[in-house]
Amino acid sequence: MNATDNAPAGAIPQGLHEFLSLDMMPLIAVTASAATLALLGSFLVLRRQAMLGDAIAHSVLPGLVVAFLLTGSRAAGPMFLGAALAAACSGAAIGVITRYGRVERSAAIGLVYTTMFALGVLLLELNGGANVDLDVDCVLSGQLELMFWSAPTTWSALFAEGALAGLPVQPLRLLGLLFLSCATVTLGWPLLRAVAFDPAFARSRGLRPASITAGLMALTILAIVLSFDAVGSILAVALLTCPPATARLLTDRMRSYVLLSVGLGAAAGVLGYLLATQAAPLLLGASVDASGTVAALSGVGLALAAAHTARTRASGHAPSPTDL
């Protein structure tokens, strides 16, 4: 008798079982959240509002903390409401400061979102002792390690009814959000393009650019809120802006821009996770926070694309209006 015969018939190999239990759900969460944020972020970058994504991601924090303190849970509904309310407050504050403070809009945005974020951190610190469930660390970098799944050990159990009932809910929620965002963008494609390109014209055609922008913004806030578990708030910003900015440098067709952006986001998610959990233990002796590697990778991608573009432009390959 050798070692393998000790296992019951139809057992899932140990390596695969380990992957299913420890890595599969976090990997899904990181990838789905990265792809969703990159997709929605691509519309922010198109309208040159990347700063706004940054501002939203930071300023929703006090809303999240208050919602958590009031309900005592991290249920998505109240968290989203809190975040949306905080975002709305920030938007109003930015408007008021721009109008009456006589400063430029970007200065007002910078002022408001840092204040809101600081307020959130302060609230967290003040209540940190009482709540192990929400702390600064998890807000900054997510809690992927909590997404384990006690996977069945045999194939038959894996495919049996109810085997998937124990799956952690956050990754599934993120998958649902990815699906919802993709469907929205696909169905509303001509509309979203027209509204992003020429809002004044879109308005004259009766397309309501303000409502459409607000809807997209609500979806973005939802994505940021749901991504907190997966990648944390700082990371949400990196994924909202880096993959779209990279894609923008590489193409000037809208379809390939958005697809590339989603692809780059997903790739940063997968590679970043593998780097943190598989490569880091070999290189550093311990695994590192996946959210950090994911964000760093998307930043490196942007730097590479920028270097590539700069070189192409310098050698005169890029078409310019004067070529015509």
């Binding site: 509303g188 001509p190 027209a194 015509l324």
Partner: protein
């Protein structure tokens, strides 16, 4: 409301229209009627409210009093017959969109906005794409249809905008500085195209920055400086006297052109 006789023949009628922008009044008590089939230039010093006038007419700015009526109706009931071309600065010309895709925004009708073309099997999208292509070709941009707009020159970009307006098959064109950044030759071609539209009964109202060509090429003019200084046939409305008065009203010391 009791319509005046023949009101549904007037493409655009402004009735005591006043507009304030961020609390500062921009237009006072504008009353004016556009002539069907005519080309009207809206002329005035910087800050005279030319763009605000168009924006208030199409409801992008809420007037503080008065109204704008298109064929006797408010804009939301007439928008299918009106093509609006915004100022070129209002658009990001680096946007990743091709010339053809921009013009297709003009030919798009209802369902075209919310359903991607591969979902639809009724062939409607094919006709709207070929229509858009025809409009581009008419303005001499057929070869540039699939170019991203960022690769086009300023004049070509303006022609794309005008092609989009043509694709709307509108009865009234509202153009905000349509000849900005356009070379003389292109301007000539565009004017000829607009002329032919007018001959077919289309009405053109354009914010225009050049006094000389406003006098020579347009039928009518409205001289603005917050309030209406003069209206009527272009040469008369834009007389030296009137223009000087407009600049004085607007508080410009020098009499240089906008």
């Amino acid at each position: 409301m009791i319509l005046r006789r023949g009101q549904d023949e007037v493409p655009l009628a402004l009735r005591s229209l006043s507009v304030a922008y961020r609390g500062v009044p921009a237009l006072w008590d504008i009353s004016w009627e556009a002539r069907k089939g005519a080309m009207t230039a809206i002329v005035g010093p910087n800050g005279a409210g030319k763009s605000s006038l168009l924006n208030a007419a199409i409801g992008a700015l809420q007037p503080i009093s008065g109204e704008a009526l298109f064929w006797g109706q408010p804009f939301q009931h007439a928008r299918a017959r009106v093509a609006y071309v915004p100022q070129r600065e209002s658009v990001d010309w680096d946007f990743p969109v091709t010339a053809l895709e921009v013009v297709e925004m003009g030919s798009a009708r209802q369902l075209d906005w919310v359903l991607p073309r591969w979902i639809r099997r009724d062939g409607a999208h094919r006709s709207h794409a070929s229509e858009a292509r025809a409009c581009l070709e008419e303005l001499g941009l057929g070869a540039f249809a699939d170019r991203p707009i960022g690769q086009l020159s300023g004049g070509q970009q303006q022609r794309v905008f005008l092609a989009r307006a043509l694709a709307q098959h509108a009865d009234l064109l509202l153009l905000d500085e349509p000849f900005a950044g356009v070379d003389a030759e292109t301007e000539d071609a565009l004017f000829q195209r607009l002329r032919r539209l007018c001959a077919d009964g289309t009405t053109v109202i354009a914010v225009h920055h050049d006094l000389a060509s406003a006098r020579s090429r347009f039928d009518d003019a409205m001289l603005l400086a917050g309030a209406v200084i003069a209206t009527g046939p272009a040469r008369e409305a834009l007389s030296e006297d009137n223009v000087r008065r407009a600049f004085e009203t607007a508080g410009h010391a020098s009499h240089q052109l906008v």
